[in-house]
């Protein structure tokens, strides 16, 4: 994968929904293996050469080896990608923050099946880190440089990133779910607390927050934040939450523009229209 292939990861419900040349090419190959998800090998014409929807190393290795035997380079006419679907583009002058979430306790003991794939899956679920990215608009960056936290940024952090994404794609919080949002920036310290809860009370998060914002020479150089508190409930795509209330931590850290994943699109962008509002 490192040397014999050019490797890329896409969301069939992300890149596959783009209204631009990236979307057109993605849709050409999504589903060609028989399901929407999976590991594909294609040529530059978008033609399928190999496919497997099985992540066991031996299966993936076999598929890659067979694909290499079949592969022949084909003509690849240039594709004009000058016009991009604006929903999937980091706004100019914006900033990217990495967001990670973890359940800090209350996950209980592993099931009675020791060793084997079942235990490995359980252990993975109980220890997994949810990952996401926060996009900050240019005007919100400018506010941070002035020592202010734009209400729109506070709202985005709370609605789309104080979530349990450790087991899959989480639901966001609606405006109605925000019972309390108290987040302030003063002298470089972000402090506050939030109380989020669905109308039925089946899902919620009560978190205390502390963070630090620094800037130098007109650029934000630090955006670190931690939210910690009891979380409860689960979403349609995040089953398996611990019973009752469990401690959850969410951390924010300014992304490195030199990271090859810097331009990765937040999952929230594809899930929630109005994410950048």
């Amino acid at each position: 994968m490192k040397t014999k292939f050019v490797s890329v990861g896409i969301a069939h419900n992300g890149a596959g929904r783009r209204k631009d040349a990236e979307g057109d090419f993605a849709r050409k190959m999504i589903g060609s293996g028989g399901t929407l998800q999976g590991l594909h090998v294609i040529n530059t014409a978008g033609e399928l050469i190999g496919y497997v929807y099985d992540f066991r190393p031996e299966s993936v290795r076999h598929m890659l080896q067979e694909a290499l035997k079949k592969f022949k380079p084909v003509e690849a006419a240039p594709i004009d990608f000058s016009r991009k679907d604006a929903r999937f583009v980091l706004p100019e002058g914006g900033a990217v923050v990495e967001v990670t979430a973890k359940i800090l306790g209350g996950t209980g003991e592993l099931g009675d099946k020791k060793d084997g794939i079942n235990e490995k899956m359980q252990r993975a679920w109980k220890n997994s880190i949810g990952r996401e990215r926060l996009w900050i608009r240019k005007d919100e960056v400018e506010a941070l440089l002035k020592g202010e936290l734009a209400p729109s940024l506070a709202k985005r952090i709370v609605r789309y990133h104080l979530v349990d994404n450790t087991r899959g794609t989480p639901p966001s919080w609606s405006e109605k779910d925000i019972k309390k949002l108290d987040l302030k920036l003063a002298a470089g310290r972000l402090t506050g607390s939030v109380h989020l809860a669905t109308p039925t009370g089946d899902r919620g998060f009560e978190a205390e927050l502390l963070g630090f914002v620094e800037s130098q020479q007109g650029k934000v150089t630090r955006f670190d934040l931690v939210a910690r508190g009891p979380f409860w409930g689960e979403g349609a795509h995040t089953p398996g939450a611990p019973e009752g209330k469990f401690p959850m931590g969410v951390a924010f850290k300014l992304a490195d523009p030199g990271d090859k994943l810097y331009k990765l699109i937040p999952d929230a962008v594809r899930c929630f229209p109005g994410y950048l509002d």
Binding site: M1, K2, K4, F5, V6, S7, V8, G9, I10, A11, H12, N13, A15, E22, L36, Q37, G38, L39, H40, V41, I42, T44, I49, L64, A67, F71, P73, A76, I79, T100, A101, K102, L104, G105, G106, I129, R131, E132, R133, N165, T166, G168, T169, E206, A207, E208, L210, V226, R228, G229, P230, P247, A251, K253, K260, L261, K263, L264, D267, R270
Partner: protein
Amino acid sequence: MRAWIGAALLLLNDPLTDAEFKKLHQELQPPKDELWRSVPWKVSILDARDQAAKEGKPIFVWVASGEPLGCG
């Protein structure tokens, strides 16, 4: 037992101290040496296509529900 006490304390929800912030912020970072990060992933299928065309290589595409390189 210690883990349960720790979990119970976290549910009390006092404001974070600077020391707790530092510990938690570090604890919540992904491991630095994850093997999958050693692959030179592209995040755009067209960027991958361009490079594959220049180098005469096939394209390995990991397709998921959600971004496979950075979510959930």
